[in-house]
């Protein structure tokens, strides 16, 4: 397959003479969170010359939270997203803990936050696997388009669809119990949480947790089976070899709420470990490209070309040495046996890794529900106010960084958010190019081929609405056209904000 590629993947970012090429746009991308599109430029023989993933929406949170009181942050920034608001809520919560000088929460506060986080990880992963991706995986990438969706899933596999819906519902109920609402509630406050659980809330969740674990095992088995069924193809599809970054516990165990940054190089060697995430800006830089609203992060010491990396379930399961819950750990061992020496780099293995995490979260929720601290009354601590707070968490889609500075009055003066999906920007683009190079090699173009591109993007579970923040650096092209389409005037704003014609 690789030998047939007419061009190298790197060449496909920008074609030499784009004006002479035929353009195909996949717009909007379906079954992903947020709005994005893919543009493909093809020559007369239907050979791919350029492929790009564009994010076409813009949010601007970093700007409009400036001037707001710091304690509003967890509630304001969670509005970035309706799927994983808890991640933003908790990353901001961790940042404002530092602003009020609290390094370590009370056991009750940390466990309530963790419970909330595992609940949202479970619901988000269930949503992605069952609702968004399973139609591709179960029916085939080229299958009948009218069937390739959640309704088709309900018709063909009603029990499976029901499990997906109910797994998600359980996660949402965990969030409701901790935050007061399923979406956009309140929980994290500076130095703690605003409520613990009472025994009736705990009992309510406990009655379903064993069923949830059983379904989680089934989901993991299904993801494993689907990958192993066509191992060779699945390993090569959209495959790119990258470094991988995630939080880890100090002993190397999988960690989703709090830990040190670990980066494993694409060859499997350890590049960084136990890095205090508050030093993230010494290690991570962001590149801006004129054709996307989403920035391109990279590891500073390697530079933009060699320093890109992946985050999310694939990175986390590859990066950790162990998982501290038994069922998920067994799943991890089997997963890693695909490549014991190096890293499992297959893009489609994201789905498998994601289901290992789903099961891990269910097991963690079970452990926490047995923990009396969850019903505690010691909710909040305080300390000396500080000027800067940095909160990092492993969101469903990967490492999420919130960095805030406040003035003497407690109002936000600067904010920087590096959202999980943004880390994967370069990787998603390269996966798109890999698929395009493999498929668009002169044959007639079909809908199924375009879906292959989307399947590659979907594996990353991108949240495009969360990921667009480059305010003031947005490149823009304005064209004035006559009714016949002839361009009369063209104004270009580049990434530095400079205008030219």
């Amino acid at each position: 397959m690789i030998e047939q590629r007419p061009v190298t993947i790197e060449q496909l970012e920008t074609a030499a003479q784009p004006e002479k090429l035929r353009r195909i746009a996949i717009e909007p991308l379906t079954r992903v969170e947020g709005h994005g599109k893919v543009t493909l430029l093809l020559d007369d023989e239907n050979r791919i010359q350029q492929a790009r993933l564009h994010i076409v929406e813009f949010r601007g949170f970093e700007k409009f939270i400036q001037g707001r009181p710091y304690w509003e942050l967890p509630v304001l920034v969670q509005r970035l997203c309706g799927i994983c608001p808890v991640s933003h809520h908790l990353a901001a919560g961790k940042a404002i803990d530092q602003l009020v000088g609290v390094e370590q929460l009370t056991p009750t506060a940390e466990k309530v936050r963790r419970l909330m986080h595992y609940g949202q990880m479970l619901q988000s992963h269930a949503l992605h696997f069952f609702h968004l991706s399973s139609p591709d995986l179960l029916f085939g990438f080229d299958s009948e388009i009218s069937q390739r969706n959640i309704v088709g899933l309900i018709n063909a596999h009603p029990d499976l669809a029901k499990q997906g819906v109910l797994l998600r519902k359980f996660g949402q109920e965990v969030i409701r119990v901790t935050a007061g609402k399923r979406i956009h509630g309140t929980c994290a406050i500076p130095g703690g949480v605003n409520k613990a659980l009472d025994s009736s809330e705990r009992d309510y969740l406990q009655q379903d947790i064993h069923q949830i674990i059983t379904w989680g095992q089934g989901a993991l088995e299904l993801a494993r089976k689907l990958f192993m069924e066509a191992l060779e193809t699945n390993q090569q599809f959209a495959r790119i070899d990258t470094h991988m970054m995630s939080l880890c516990q100090d002993d190397g165990a999988l960690e989703l709420y709090h830990g040190g940054l670990r980066v494993t190089a694409s060859d499997g060697s350890r590049m960084m470990d136990k890095i205090d995430y508050r030093e993230y800006d010494q290690h991570i830089r962001e590149e801006v490209k004129s054709w996307s609203y989403m920035k391109f992060p990279y590891l500073q010491h390697l530079g933009p070309e060699k320093g890109s990396y992946r985050v999310g379930p694939l990175a986390r399961i590859n990066n950790c040495d162990t998982i501290d819950t038994p069922l998920a750990e067994a799943g991890r061992i089997e997963f890693r046996s695909l490549n014991n020496q190096g890293l499992v780099q297959s893009t489609l293995a994201y789905h498998w890794a994601r289901m290992i995490e789903l099961l891990h979260c269910a097991e963690k929720i079970e452990q926490l529900l047995d923990d009396p601290d969850l019903l505690g009354t010691d909710l909040k601590l305080s300390g000396e106010m500080r000027q800067r707070g940095i909160g990092v968490i492993e969101a469903p889609r990967g490492t999420l960084i919130h960095d805030y500075e406040i003035d003497d009055d407690g109002l936000v003066s600067r904010a920087n958010l590096i959202v999980s999906t943004t880390h994967n920007n370069r990787a998603m683009n390269e996966s798109v190019r890999t698929v395009a190079a493999d498929l668009f090699n002169g044959q007639e173009i079909t809908e199924g081929m375009l879906n292959h591109i989307e399947v590659a993007i979907r594996a990353y579970d991108p949240c495009l609405s969360c990921a667009t923040h480059a305010l003031g650096k947005m490149p823009l092209v304005i064209e004035l056209q006559q009714p016949d389409g002839q361009i009369v005037d063209r104004l270009i704003k580049d990434t530095q904000g400079e205008l030219k014609r």
Binding site: P69, E72, A179, G180, T186, I189, P190, G410
Partner: protein, 240 residues
């Protein structure tokens, strides 16, 4: 023999000197209001408590109760009119309930729910207003001020300080602070002042405490404002 009058067919007793609002509050009948607080001289500016007496519109908070009068309160026309007033209030300032720490315990929001306002209707003004966070204990978010003058009255009549005032006219009317810099920190204001606990909305708030009360336990989470009453009535208790 006590004096009495009727509100929506219910007989309401009153004593001499009571307004329609006073008598209604005593009898447990809710007439929507924002600028009224029984501890202060009635102001009659928000017009939300407008009721009909013999077809004539009057503010319940400033009109004396009278023997045998027939008051219309929760009629379709009056509720529609109140909803209109509320919709205008919502677009005049920057009232973003989803992110506001006062949400669930805000009188403006609670009255809007009571009057059946479920969505904005008019184009938002999005006025550019500032935040005064200079004071160590209290923050003022001018975005949410509805010019009810309760803080003005409380500071002047109760605290004897006159820290707050309303300046400007019409759409230019705005809350001002009496201090050399115009900032709260340079004024005579103290967080234990009465003026710190009368704001019906999220304009005058204690610092560092937002969202401390979980969803489900906020003032209007369990019962509507017609049963719970005003924010200020509960503020003193909450702060103790």
């Amino acid at each position: 023999m006590t004096n009495s009058f009727e509100i929506d067919g219910i007989t309401v007793p009153f004593s001499n000197g009571q307004t329609i609002m006073d008598a209604a509050l005593t009898a447990g009948i809710y007439i929507p209001h924002l600028c009224h607080n029984p501890e202060f001289k009635p102001h009659g500016s928000c017009r939300l408590c407008t009721v009909l007496i013999n077809g004539r519109s009057v503010a319940a908070c400033t009109t004396p109760a009278g023997e045998g009068i027939v008051v219309e309160n929760e009629t379709h026309e009056l509720v529609t009119q109140r909803r209109l007033l509320l919709k205008l209030l919502f677009v005049e300032g920057n009232h973003t309930c989803p992110g506001c720490e006062k949400s669930g315990a805000c009188q403006l929001q609670a009255v809007a729910y009571h009057c059946g306002m479920l969505a904005p209707e008019f184009v938002h003004f999005y006025p550019k207003r500032s935040i005064d966070a200079s004071h160590p204990d209290t923050i003022i978010d001018f975005n949410r001020c509805i010019l009810c003058e309760l803080c003005v009255r409380a500071s002047r009549d109760s605290d004897k300080k006159a820290v707050f005032n309303i300046s400007g006219r019409g759409i230019q009317a705005h809350l001002t602070i009496d201090s050399p810099s115009g900032k709260l920190a340079d004024s005579a204001f103290n967080s234990s002042d009465k003026a710190a606990r009368v704001c019906p909305v999220g304009a005058i708030l204690p610092k560092h405490k937002g969202y401390n009360i979980p969803i489900g336990q906020r003032l209007y989470d369990q019962a509507p404002i017609s049963q719970v009453g005003d924010v200020a009535k509960h503020q003193e208790v909450a702060d103790e």
